[in-house]
Amino acid sequence: MADLLSATLPVVSDPVTVGGVTLELVPPTSIVSLGAFAGAGRDELVGRVRAEFGVDLPDVSRAVRSSYGNVAFLWNGPTQWLVVGEDSGELFSRLQKCCGDVCALTSQGDSRTILRLSGMGAREVATRLLPIDLHGQVFSTDCVASTLAGHIPVIVWQTAQTPAYDFLVFRSFASSLFHDLSVALNGHTFSETDHYA
């Protein structure tokens, strides 16, 4: 019988800390996308999630956290959300029972990887790669943005006031983004990364 493929981490580097800012790979998490069906699907979905998780799905680019289990709902486009929770099959089956008939449910745990940048000065580091305004007045805890980090598509989620940012990135780009962020940690801008091996 063939050997099963063993799971490998998308980033093999150890956490990097420079000047009090730490870049690390977040341990595997469950990520599930919700896409409301056309018509009344959206309202029905919002109602079902409210009943099961006690929160309203955001209709602006933010995350809301449910106190029923360690689960967060991230806005990810009109009528689309990402649910991020602990790594187990439980989240998916819970969502399937709750709203599987009114939305498209897709597990994204193998698709997305999360890199975390945290500590005083994390904003300055993130700004070296991200083209969006991260100033506290316009981007604060639980703000979410889909954008480009350099050339890499990411979903950025500010998870703490410290500040801390979670970068949800496609798994195959995680290693490149880790490299770019570690270069940014050392004070270099994106355009300079090519000169930094």
């Binding site: 680019s61 990810n76 486009g77 009109p78 083209p131 969006i132 943005a145 889909s146 954008t147 480009l148 598509p153």
Partner: protein, 99 residues
């Protein structure tokens, strides 16, 4: 150039892809050959405000109808293309078209 996405706010051009003229409408199936040639191949090249389709691929993945002045790149309006389409279908002239 920057576009203000109705969902994501002001974003740089690198997040968007240009699609083309947002004013062309698919003719009915029994329309003349001229109407189809016009729809498929012929485009105006206006000097001034123009409605065009843009895709916010690196952001919320929405199709947008952007009104842009082709002389100055001034952005006069950005709307969700889905809303534009739904509003058109509801209007008396748009009824039945494309549905």
């Amino acid at each position: 150039m920057r576009l203000t996405c109705p969902f994501c706010g002001s974003r740089g051009l690198e997040e968007f892809t240009y699609r083309g003229d947002a004013t062309v409408r698919r003719p009915s199936a029994d329309a003349s050959q001229e109407a189809w040639v016009d729809y498929v191949y012929l485009r105006d090249n206006p000097c001034g405000p123009h409605r065009e389709l843009w895709y916010h691929g690196a952001g919320c993945r929405s199709w947008l109808v952007v009104t842009r002045d082709t002389r100055t790149h001034q952005i006069l309006d950005v709307r969700n293309a889905r809303d534009v389409m739904l509003a058109e279908r509801m209007s008396p002239e748009g009824k039945g078209e494309g549905s």
